[in-house]
Symmetry: C2
Subunit: 237 residues, 2 copies
Amino acid sequence: MDMSPFQIPPFQNASDVFFKALQEHAHSQKYKKGKILFVHEDRANFFYVIQTGWVKLFRETIDGTQSIVDILPAGHLFGETALFTQNLSPYSAEVIEPGIIISIPLKILKKEVESNNKLALDMLASMTRYRHQQDREIEHRTIQNAPQRIGCFLLRLTDQNKSGPAIIHLPYDKTLVAARLGMQPETFSRALAKLKEKTGIRIKGATVELNNLDQLSQYSCAACSSEFPCKDLQAAK
Amino acid sequence: MDMSPFQIPPFQNASDVFFKALQEHAHSQKYKKGKILFVHEDRANFFYVIQTGWVKLFRETIDGTQSIVDILPAGHLFGETALFTQNLSPYSAEVIEPGIIISIPLKILKKEVESNNKLALDMLASMTRYRHQQDREIEHRTIQNAPQRIGCFLLRLTDQNKSGPAIIHLPYDKTLVAARLGMQPETFSRALAKLKEKTGIRIKGATVELNNLDQLSQYSCAACSSEFPCKDLQAAK
DNA sequence: TCTTCTAATTGACTTTGGTCAAGGAGGAAT
DNA sequence: ATTCCTCCTTGACCAAAGTCAATTAGAAGA
């Protein structure tokens, strides 16, 4: 099995024993769009690493209203927090862009994290990053309006240090981007039009073109406590 | 120095060396309402434990708009994530209800967490709890309306397993509760009135009386993906 | 007790986003 | 090409929350 996906945080410092266990017990599989990997409050025996594709983490109320916990690209892992919650899944997970996902028994991770303090520290660092990301998310929901949130979302999809024109592709359906940003599809559609009018971006389907990031960042980052460019994106690399 | 505040998560498993270092370097002090402990993006050399009182963690934009990261009661620690962010404070901290706060050099914690795997695991568990709390926060901001959010807030202040009448005291100013819940003071005021009308609670200043939790939980928890009573509150104890 | 200041409420109005319903655009399969 | 289906957009309307301004209630101090 290809081990390259494990060159990602937080597994740089995992032991050979861990990687050997992976070779034996990790299971890599291709999934179609729409595949539900597990549901909220299921017993969790695995955690997952996304090799390609996108995964949506979400929960829903009795009446079916969904709330998106996160939408993750390749290179991310999820479900690992079940280690610390009596093996109960804190959310449901669905594949939204087809891809290959590796499932790994939590037991392996548990053993490793209990014996390898380096890994534990790396996980702490990665949890900290996630925590701050959520802090920012909550902040943006309260102080940014819909067009600003979209602008911020776009800016975070591109290399913020490049100057000059840029082309940004939406990584998944607009409906989902809307949900990810906590708004209705109709609102998203109208807000995108407003963003276009305010910042001069050009939109064609799932593609957004802009002459430079300045107009966009000025418009969106005015309602953010951090400066542009976003420091956390640098740190992630 | 009284060590009782350190019988809290995540320090149950810290070493004697750690506690000895605390005795030497931890500093306990009484602060007035309004005292700023540190500012967003300051260099962080300490983390803090609240012995009594309440602390607000927040950030603000250039134009002064504040967003509340969290409001913490006695028994909680904060500022510890700076360990993993090049010692930069991820938020500002202000005392909002006077009390005693212990400041501890991050170095001590760093040393301990790097050498004591048990502590690292406990911190991971506590980070996980926090992460899920934030997940819930984001969820509530999107699917609960203002009166429901207040109801949920109240329910989380009281023992959810007791039946019969209950009295709940707001732990800090209404203006702050409003900010904590991501709404304007005016909205809070009106939403509280609506909650009263819908659930029959009785409000007198900062005191809320109710005959039982049923009406309130039915009203608020309808727009939540978790069941009443809230499991995470149990787990925290 | 009286004054002063801040917190909280209330009213009138505006803005934003949500809801419901109807089309339209684009891709995949036939 | 044609059909079908899903995603997206648009319009008309509504509901929720924000804003601005005026008042009131309550707590702290003189």
